[in-house]
Symmetry: C2
Subunit: 439 residues, 2 copies
């Protein structure tokens, strides 16, 4: 299956690019090149949300609908593949964790693969319909029935899939102080970033607490997500409160709302109600760090993942406090999981670092900060932008295209795709070497 | 012992700061504040080399000698403590790796602690004297006997201890194309960065190959050091070849020499023959990454350490190629070492990240790139500078002072200092939780 995902996404990107080349897709006056369209199709299918030009201006209604189709398919695909992968891979050797997860998924009464897929599709549809209905309460008065419903549906799908595409005529800015629009979109992004398994687990647990226990994975990721939200909220509020170019322009409740919304979007929503370029350097650091961490495994979000981050923090604390076992919610995290968390982070960092280096060299006209922000945003498929993407040359766009693809397919999936053979066990047994000093 | 190191260094810094307050230390016209002097003393004792003002201009001969004393003590201290720690800690529980290392050190015929210390002092003295002699070949003709010998001795001590303090009247710039000066200093830096254990191991191995086997640790760090040098050399040469503000101003052999020298100094020499501020963004990324990795454990260098980096790379490659065991030079690296490498890197990254964030918030007038470069340089006790330190406010200087101290004491030593009690084993046994998805 891993190779299948990798291949399906390449085909999807090519098909999407071809579709965007159709006549009537680009708005009059827009003149996007083939590289631009490849980038846009990748951004949509990989539910990243980075754009070379404002989507509302550059694409006709048809073009916007092609993008909607791409990110709806991309989002559903990631949810379905991610969940199936967690279930199916359990049958293979060497993945006891997945096996256990599969057992527990069965305990959630999901039954066969087909019924699981049906539940996913249905669930997504319901979540998007509810979101659209709520957004319509604002957009229909603002734009009239036809356009208002279109805008409501478009942004509900875009938000729940963490796609980050915006087709509002004046962007998200005018809704920065609107609790309805910001609230609905933020909730959609958080739910999408938790992933289907956690949502399902929480729902079934709430319905029948005794029969369906809350998975340790759910507890861990819910707590980490909440912690990151609070941290981001507090820091952004403090750093931007007096910045007249961002929150400072809002009423005091508006600043609180903006801080909340901006703390949600790095995991990996990609919407923003203030111009990222106007943030203070401190906030840019916070946003970049939050994007790097990202959302849950198997969700529509990216990054190294909340669970990975929590395990890294936990083992750091263990080393400092002299503990040897990593305990979370009265469960011991196996060493193999700790190693995997570290390794995933290493691969991810190398990937982001290499892409950033390539961008810096190929686009010397652009600054470090801008390029780093855009690189992390692409790798974690966030889609927040310091308005750098439109300024990149073709080499830069292609680097980001590859990065969005790799960031979406995921370091682990990518690693497994490279390795369809069974896990290699060394034939020769070497003696242990305990003499390596580190740090 | 870990708490002792931490305490001794604090005392040393305070004493050094007091000494720099003596009359006749600052050159006429220099007007360094107490915070400046605290920073300078810390930079010297922690053999970092960051400065708030040009050392040759701001300090009299007496002041320069106080700094020399500080970084000579700091360097010797780190070498002695680092080696002793590796030997002594072996006697405690839970550090089988150190125990083995201690055994092998005994196999190196070092004998008692006192004779080990005597060897370290003697060895350092000889290495510095040889370096000084070679540098005198250039500096005596340039400056006359008295001043030339002073300059030769000063920079030999500064280089071997990876201190990075320069008291040449016009800095290192005029020697950018001088193979003698650059070569001697580069070799001193590389030797210092390898650390005493590796040098001793290689020497005794070369003298008696059969009796003294080359430790796996030595092989691993020598290979990694060589790899990083070659990588840095090639990238810097390519990126700066045509930069008229740096290498482009030199002859072609001069450019090769400059690329070599600049690839050596990030581990953690701190000398540079070109202005870091004039490097292309690509080279700045390369330098920052090399500084972050740093040199060997227990050496005068800093960073996450070459062995840590090699183990991270190895386990990343393992995950991609589907191997489960990490093999280096026909030895299996235990999982506990892999976990420790990941954890050390996490702690180090959190430390650098927090300090960088604090600097960005407290010094908003300075750019991201400049502050990141200076932060990594301070944490890895490198001392390379984009000329940002003199522009920092007092809050910024104090942040960097703390960072230089923590970077020198080392994440692991610091962690052990926090934890004088025995390694805690959980009293309650929790069941394993294999359900945590990461990445
Ligand atoms: K996104
Ligand atoms: K240094």
């Amino acid at each position: 299956p891993p190779q299948l995902i990798a291949l399906v996404y390449v085909l999807g990107i090519l098909l999407g690019t071809a579709a965007l080349h159709l006549p009537g897709v680009q708005a009059p006056g827009a003149d996007l090149s083939s590289v631009d369209l490849l980038f846009t199709a990748t951004s949509a299918l990989c539910i990243t949300g980075l754009v070379v030009a404002d989507t509302a201006e550059a694409f006709t209604r048809q073009g916007q609908l092609i993008l909607l189709l791409l990110f709806q398919i991309g989002g559903l695909g990631i949810i379905a593949f991610g969940t199936l992968f967690a279930v199916l891979a359990g049958r293979r050797v060497n993945f006891t964790e997945r096996q256990h997860l599969a057992e527990q998924l069965n305990a959630l009464n999901v039954g066969s693969v087909l019924s699981l897929l049906r539940i996913i599709f249905l669930y997504t549809l319901v979540a998007e319909a509810v979101g659209a209905g709520l957004l319509a309460l604002r957009f229909v008065p603002d734009f009239g029935w036809r356009e208002g419903l279109y805008q409501a549906a478009y942004h509900s799908v875009s938000a729940y899939n963490n796609a980050g595409f915006v087709v509002l005529p004046r962007g998200m800015g005018p809704y920065a102080e609107d609790p309805l629009v910001c609230g609905v979109i933020a909730v959609q992004i958080i739910l999408g970033g938790l992933g289907f398994l956690v949502q399902l687990n929480v729902l079934t647990h709430l319905l029948r607490p005794r029969r369906n226990r809350l998975l340790t994975y759910s507890k861990l990721t819910l707590l980490t997500t909440a912690g990151l939200l609070v941290l981001g909220f507090v820091l952004l509020l403090a750093l931007e409160w007096g910045n007249a170019r961002t929150f400072g322009a809002f009423s005091e409740p508006g600043r609180v709302l903006a801080a909340f919304f901006q703390s949600v979007v790095p995991r990996s929503g990609g919407f923003s109600t203030v111009d990222m370029e106007r943030l203070t350097n401190g906030s840019l650091f916070v946003m970049t760090a939050l994007m790097f961490v990202g959302a849950n495994s198997g969700s529509t979000g990216g990054g190294i993942k909340t669970s990975t981050f929590a395990i890294l923090l936990g083992s750091a604390w263990n080393l400092i406090s002299g503990r040897t076992e990593l305990i979370a919610f009265k469960r011991r995290i196996p060493t193999s999981t700790v190693v995997r968390a570290g390794t995933v982070t290493t691969i991810y960092t190398l990937l982001v670092g290499s892409a950033f280096f390539a961008l810096v060299v190929s686009n010397p006209q652009l600054g470090f900060t801008h390029l780093l922000f855009e690189t992390v945003s692409a790798a974690a498929t966030v889609g927040l932008s310091m308005n750098t993407t439109p300024k990149l040359n073709d080499a830069g766009l292609i680097i980001l295209t590859v990065l969005m693809y790799l960031g979406r397919i995921g370091p682990v999936t990518f690693a497994l795709a490279l390795n369809q053979r069974q896990v290699k066990r060394g034939v020769i047994k070497y003696p242990a070497e305990p003499d390596i000093l580190v740090g």
